[in-house]
């Protein structure tokens, strides 16, 4: 296996999904001795990033909710209970960092909370639809580079029930969570049956050396009627190693179109 290059790698292919109540295996078993396959019921190809409902639609397990009145044929989480829309997501990836390289597993958003298993190790991702999760997985990656990842995704804690006459935000219970509220239905939208449960944004690996850059902040200030401008940049740096890192930090600004460097 080739040495890993520094940078981000998306995990957006090869995902499988299954309803949690139809899977007897534990997260540890799924990511060690019993990895699932697409040919194996109840596992189906998953939409990641996407929602549980997107996965069900993709596999023709429910009708397209946005076609005609087909949303009425899909059971609502308020009737089925949360377990019905609690799903496993599974994928495999190759990654074998070299010495002094570090690997983070990043979820840019999950709705609403999750248990992550990687090669038998468990990590709990706390609640909240609009937050990033970052797990340093360097020490739990497979020495041979073949890694098994399973994510058990739970719906919002308070998915609510949809009153017979619908209404703005259904019974408003979803407002108890930090999540999108339109999912209980509005004057412009039918209720979303799974309340958008799922790994709904990017999943990626970030491979770095000993020092990692976090969340730079760029701000400009202007003077002399916009003739003079300054670009201010602040960032966080993490040294993951057990030695003092002697760093060279550089910032370079170029034009987007041709990549040339602007001349002062």
């Amino acid at each position: 296996m080739a040495e890993e290059g520094i940078g981000k790698r998306l995990l957006d292919r090869g995902w499988l999904a299954a309803r949690s109540t139809e899977v007897d295996l534990t997260g540890v078993e799924l990511t060690t001795t019993h990895p699932p396959s697409a040919e194996q019921s109840p596992w189906v190809e998953a939409v990641v990033p996407g929602t549980v409902l997107a996965t069900l639609v993709k596999n023709n397990l429910v009708r397209d909710p946005f076609y005609g009145l087909d949303n009425e044929t899909i059971i609502d989480i308020g009737e089925s209970g949360r377990d019905y829309y609690t799903f496993w997501f599974f994928t495999m990836f190759e990654c074998k960092p070299s010495t002094n390289q570090h690997v983070d597993l990043n979820f840019r958003a999950i709705n609403y909370s999750a248990d992550v298993y990687l090669n038998g190790h468990k990590e709990v991702l706390p609640k909240g639809m609009f937050r990033r999760h970052c797990i340093d997985v360097t020490d739990i990656l497979d020495p041979d580079g073949k890694n098994l990842l399973a994510v058990l995704v739970y719906p919002p804690d308070n998915p609510g029930k949809i009153p017979p006459d619908g209404g703005q935000g259904g019974d408003h219970e979803i407002g108890k969570d930090v999540a999108a509220q339109y999912v209980e239905g509005w004057d412009w939208m039918t209720p979303i049956r799974d309340r958008n449960t799922g790994i709904w944004d990017e999943v990626s690996l970030l491979i770095t050396g000993p020092v990692k850059i976090i969340d730079p902040h760029l701000v400009s200030s202007f003077f002399d009627d916009y003739k003079r401008a300054y670009l201010h940049s602040t960032l966080e740096l993490v040294n993951k190693s057990n030695f003092v890192a002697e760093c060279s930090l550089s910032i370079q600004v170029g034009t987007e179109i041709d990549g040339d460097i602007c001349v002062v």
Binding site: H172, Y226, L231
Partner: protein, 237 residues
Amino acid sequence: EHLQSEHLNIAAGSHVVHTLPELFFYKPDLWWPNGMGKQPLYNVEITVDVENFGESDSWSHHFGFRKIESHIDSATGGRLFKVNGQSIFIRGGNWILSDGLLRLSKRRYETDIKFHAEMNFNMMRCWGGGLAERPEFYHYCDIYGLLVWQEFWITGDCDGRGIPVSNPDGPLDHELFLLCARDTVKLLRNHPSLALWVGGNEQVPPDDINTALKMDLQLHPYFESSTDLKFSIEDIY
């Protein structure tokens, strides 16, 4: 050239906040909203090299030089916007999300946002009952010159009004709300199209959340100044 490097030592296992020396630009190409000018984007790349290792990490982002100001007009009660010192007539539309199943591809975002620009819009308002939009959404708003009014996850119907009247105290976990808000700001703050953060839709968030958001999002006095005084970077951070 707009290239600057510096050396620093970072202790083992430590986490530091660092401010780079500011970069000076003479007459940068300013970013303008759709219909007022072009949307030049500079590519900012930050790299950290570690001795005896080489390149350890790098980060890049498109950056647009622009100054957005807004205030509530006492005569009309409406919010007035200025970009780069010029008043702008807002032609905006409400936006909730691109797809109810959250299949939010770059291609889909590009098509939707280009369509809004071609409708001659210059602002999109991301409704509080929907999403904090994704970086790809903002990327195409940067490119097509759509200003973004981004609301946090509070609505009148679910947070204090509605039929029956809902709970005005917002989500159960206020700290979680603020954690998500702060993380979202960090995710999106470098996009030139990002014009305004708003507490919610047709409702003010609970007092503690509202106060914390206002505190965290207030503009540093340095950036409000229109004088020619030049502060040192230490004054800012």
